[in-house]
């Protein structure tokens, strides 16, 4: 149902669908219509113009009724086109699935065969097949289907190769399923959308190819009419009696246009990548719709200060409050840890700073982001762009995803430098080498010419850090920069970051889910839950005496090395969905101490000095912490 709504929303596809349905309907009811016999010749009335008595569209060179021939021809062309598409899809998909699923030698043999088929120009191949089998509509159908099998086989094989290594296929194997069952019940259902997409975009083409063969006299044989043979027969009278060519020509145009428009619509509606909005280009900066008063900067010392920041995702009629009023600040040379589980809003908070949350669906709906005293929320794009990567730089979790795979890491570094500073290429290169040395990449002079895939995960993340350092930023926002790395490499990267911030007076916002990492690197920590900060303070104070029940139980459920074998303290339940937040404390449903008061009204984030907690029943009395 969702598919149909999506399809109909695409106006061109809907128009194509309507036109095509009309044509198909006409073709279906043709035998019932009071039409002249399409094959009866009447040479006395040849080349009658459209509108002539009894012949709505006129007659052809043998005096046959064009309307009757057109409808019967359309019927035949459509049937052959659809049949050819079906056979091509069926055999092509079968070949593709078998090659992709079994892989190895089977795959090699089959696909090289398919490659050989593809090496012939398709019309030559079709001609060869028809020449071998003899002319006739059935043989033309076989030729067109055979010529299109490689297209389907290659397409489907590609998809199947991806699926055959999926874990659910392994799981099915372990559940006792044989190859045939796995192909039919695990692979096929996932491949069918691709088959439909491939079919919808090629049926039009196949109708054209069949018409082409008939046009050459290799398809339908006289007196039987299909659109191609009608065109072929009218060729001789193209100048003197153009209507005999225009009538079948226009029908081919209408059919193929209709099918292609509909096919594109089907593809857009079925393809998960397109459906998820890959075609909607995000805006260069997050949309801002600020309501209410803009909070002031507060603390003057901070280089970056977030005040009551609210970021939401508007998806259809739902509003996800990903960030629900967050206050954060970080001073030069300071490292602030932001800790939380997935969905707590920690990454969205980080991306909101430079307006990097994708819009649609992201919207900043309130609060302010002060960088060196200036509010960046709603700042012009050009201004944000000049700051991004220059004054405020990001390090992301997966350097393989953030580095461009086709450019050498050195070129990417040089580009990052030259975007913000008008320096020559050789100077930029020298700077890039120096940066790689700063992040302790051995043999920086030769490593600068490596591609990202030639480096290990730890080395790639160093390049990511070098890129962030390229323009001497004031603030680095690091979003889980060590999560994808091994512990020994993580230890190297953490100590590198720690050194860099001390050497350069960098302010670091370090986003993570790991208390161990926070404890080792950060001066202060903010704990996030369901889009809000629930506790904040100097790292030691928070970790040694957590005040919010969530913090204390989160710490308790992380096993610590050296504790031996034991039962872990789990937190029952799941974090709440941020589109359905209940009033009061978001943690109340999972909290052992929750009372009625916890579920009413807003609870403030309060505490002495640098310590603050958003809880009515804190675990410990807050003591004023010192950083």
């Amino acid at each position: 149902m969702q598919f149909l709504t999506l399809l109909m929303r695409n106006r061109l596809a809907a128009a194509g669908g309507i036109v095509l349905s009309l044509v198909v309907l006409l073709a279906l009811v043709t035998p019932l219509l009071p039409l002249a016999n399409p094959d009866v010749t009447d040479t006395a009335n040849r080349f009658l113009m459209p509108g002539a008595q009894g012949h709505l569209l006129g007659t052809d060179h043998l005096g046959r009724d064009l309307l009757a021939r057109l409808l019967h021809g359309t019927r035949l062309s459509l049937a052959v086109g659809f049949a050819a598409a079906f056979f091509a899809a069926f055999f092509g998909a079968a070949i593709g699935i078998i090659a992709g699923y079994f892989g190895g030698r089977t795959d090699n043999l089959i696909m090289r065969g398919v490659d050989m088929l593809m090496a012939f120009p398709y019309i030559l191949l079709a001609l060869a097949i028809v020449a071998a089998l003899g002319p006739g509509l059935t043989n033309a159908l076989i030729a067109v289907a055979a010529v299109n099998i490689p297209f389907f086989a290659r397409n489907i094989r590609g998809v199947t190769v991806g699926l055959a290594h999926k874990e659910f296929v392994d799981a099915a194997r372990l559940a006792g399923l044989g190859h045939t069952r796995i192909i039919l019940t695990e692979i096929l259902p996932n491949v069918i959308p691709v088959i439909v997409i491939a079919m919808s975009t090629t049926i039009g083409w196949m109708i054209l190819e069949t018409a082409g063969l008939s046009f050459l006299g290799l398809g339908s044989q006289p007196p039987q009419a299909d659109l191609g043979s009608m065109l072929g027969e009218a060729r001789g009278a193209l100048i003197t009696n153009p209507h005999t060519s225009i009538v079948p020509g226009a029908m081919i145009l209408v059919i193929v246009m209709g099918i292609n428009l509909l096919g594109d619509g089907v593809r857009d509606a079925l393809d998960p990548r397109l459906r998820s909005g890959a075609l909607t280009r995000p805006m260069p900066a997050t949309r801002v719709e600020r309501k209410g008063t803009i909070p002031d900067q507060g603390d003057g010392e901070a280089v970056l200060s977030l005040r009551q920041l609210q970021t939401q995702f508007h998806v259809k009629n739902r509003i996800y409050k990903a960030v629900g009023g967050v206050d954060l600040k970080v001073a030069p040379g300071e490292c602030l840890g932001v800790i939380g589980e997935s969905g707590s809003g920690k990454s969205v908070t980080a991306l909101s700073v430079m307006g990097l949350v994708a819009s649609p669906p992201g919207v900043i709906t309130g609060g302010a982001v002060y960088f060196q005293g200036e509010d960046l929320v709603g700042a012009p794009y050009e201004h944000l762009r000049s700051l991004r990567g220059d004054k405020v730089a990001y390090i992301f979790q997966d350097p393989l995803a953030t580095l461009h795979p086709l450019y050498k890491v050195g070129d990417q570094l040089i580009e990052a430098i030259r975007v913000h500073h008008p320096v020559g290429r050789s100077e930029a290169r020298a700077r890039a080498v120096a940066l790689l040395k700063q992040v302790r990449i051995p043999n920086a002079e030769s490593r600068i010419d490596s591609y990202p895939h030639e480096m290990s995960g730890g080395m790639r993340q160093r390049v990511g850090i070098a890129m962030a350092l390229a323009n001497d930023p004031e603030v680095i926002i690091a979003d889980e920069p060590t999560t994808a790395l091994d512990v020994t490499v993580q230890a190297q990267i953490l100590s590198l970051l720690d050194e860099l911030r001390r050497e350069r007076g960098l302010a670091i916002v370090f986003i993570t889910h790991d208390f161990g990492v926070v404890a080792q690197l950060c001066d202060r920590v903010a704990v996030m839950y369901a889009g809000r900060i629930v506790e904040t303070g100097p790292t030691e104070a928070v970790l040694n005496a957590p005040a919010h029940p969530y913090t204390s139980r989160l710490i308790a459920c992380v096993p610590e090395l050296g504790g031996g074998r034991r039962r872990l303290e789990a937190i029952p339940g799941l974090p709440p969905a941020v589109d359905r937040l209940e009033p009061g404390c978001a943690f109340a449903p999972r909290c052992l101490k929750a009372s009625a008061a916890c579920r009413e009204g807003d609870i403030a984030l309060e505490g002495p000095g640098m310590r603050a907690v958003r809880c009515i029943h804190p675990e410990a009395e807050l003591e004023e912490g010192v950083a």
Partner: protein
């Protein structure tokens, strides 16, 4: 106690740079000869960093990859997956990524029914009853059965994955990073569930993870893998507290721990050895502070009684090198 799983000289190598004809350009030894035994009712933890061969090892144990050499014995009989229906009842696998291990186009009921139908040939009524039992034991509501995988959170999907493995009624479960894709609060739930199921059903686990603390918390014994070889095996409570192999010590010192100052435990430039061009002797020697000329010459073998390490210069209780240079045994 009886040995339920025995690996003897198990190896796996992958050819790289395949050509259409002729020999491949090189061979990567993902798993070097590995000998391990797992006792009935035991949890053997396997730790190691990415690329150490732990997943390759696990996939060989369940017959998803054919070994290059060596043997695997399950309950005293050599691994035989010619009949998938028989094999699936002996050993099962819980996958790392809970969502991608479920077919996106199947309902949870269809996922759960496959092993019951194919492995145990149950009737419809018997299947429904069994699914209800299993779902109760993994704390999942039966209303989930008609839903599709994308509707579940990671923790729920992993419980479904565990439920599917339980449905086969295998006595041995290979758990390949079962909690590394989960949030910490959910991770604890799943680990506790695994512990309960083991006690209740008398299962044997092979628990693979890169997270030392998690492995320590759930395992009876731990094997440390480096570059495809087992470098140290011992009881979980000893192995990280008093490591004998310098690599284990490095791992233990690298794990971020609350209350320990940030130090890079080794030089920042070190990288893993190149698998296409492995070093002679001990694979760890380039990173090892105690490496000698002996380490470059001979590959150390696992030695010791209860707590075994493959090192020419193993560390003693206090973390110092044992004075007497032990010969390889």
């Amino acid at each position: 106690m009886s040995t339920v799983l025995k690996l003897d000289g198990l190896t796996k190598s992958f050819p790289v740079g395949k050509r259409l004809l002729g020999k491949p350009r090189g061979v990567v030894h993902a798993v070097q000869p590995v000998d391990l035994e797992v006792q009935q009712g035991e949890t053997l933890g396997i730790v190691g960093e990415s690329g150490c061969g732990k997943s390759t090892l696990a996939r060989m144990l369940v017959g998803l990859l054919p070994p290059t050499g060596g043997s695997i014995e399950i309950n005293g009989a050599p691994l035989d997956n010619a009949d998938p229906a028989e094999f699936g009842k002996k050993i099962q696998y819980v996958f790392q990524d809970p969502i991608s291990s479920l077919n996106p186009r199947k309902t949870i009921r269809q996922v759960m029914e496959a092993p019951l139908k194919r492995l145990h040939g149950m009737t419809r009524a018997a299947r429904d009853k069994r699914i209800a039992e299993i779902f109760a034991s993994v704390n999942l509501r039966e209303e989930f059965l008609e839903r599709y995988p994308h509707e579940f959170s990671g923790g729920q999907a992993q419980r479904i994955g565990i439920a599917r493995a339980l449905a086969a009624e295998a006595r041995i479960l290979i758990l390949d990073e079962p909690v590394s894709a989960l949030d910490v609060s959910v991770q604890a739930q799943v680990l506790n569930l695994l512990a309960d199921l083991k006690a209740e059903l008398g299962l044997t686990y092979l628990f693979i993870s890169h997270d030392l603390a998690v492995v320590e918390a759930v395992s009876d014994r731990v094997a440390v893998l480096y570059f495809g070889s087992v470098v140290e095996v011992g009881r979980a409570e000893d192995i990280f507290r008093a490591p004998r192999h310098p690599y284990t010590k490095l791992l233990a010192n690298s794990a971020p721990v609350v209350g320990r100052a940030l130090t890079a435990p080794e030089g920042r430039e070190t990288e893993l050895p190149d698998p296409l061009n492995p070093p002679s002797g001990c694979a760890f020697r380039a990173r090892c502070p105690h490496a000698t000329e002996l380490c470059a010459r001979e590959v150390p073998q696992l030695s010791g009684e209860d707590h075994r390490a493959a090192c020419h210069h193993p560390l003693d209780q206090s973390g110092a090198i044992e004075t007497e240079v032990s010969s390889q045994g």
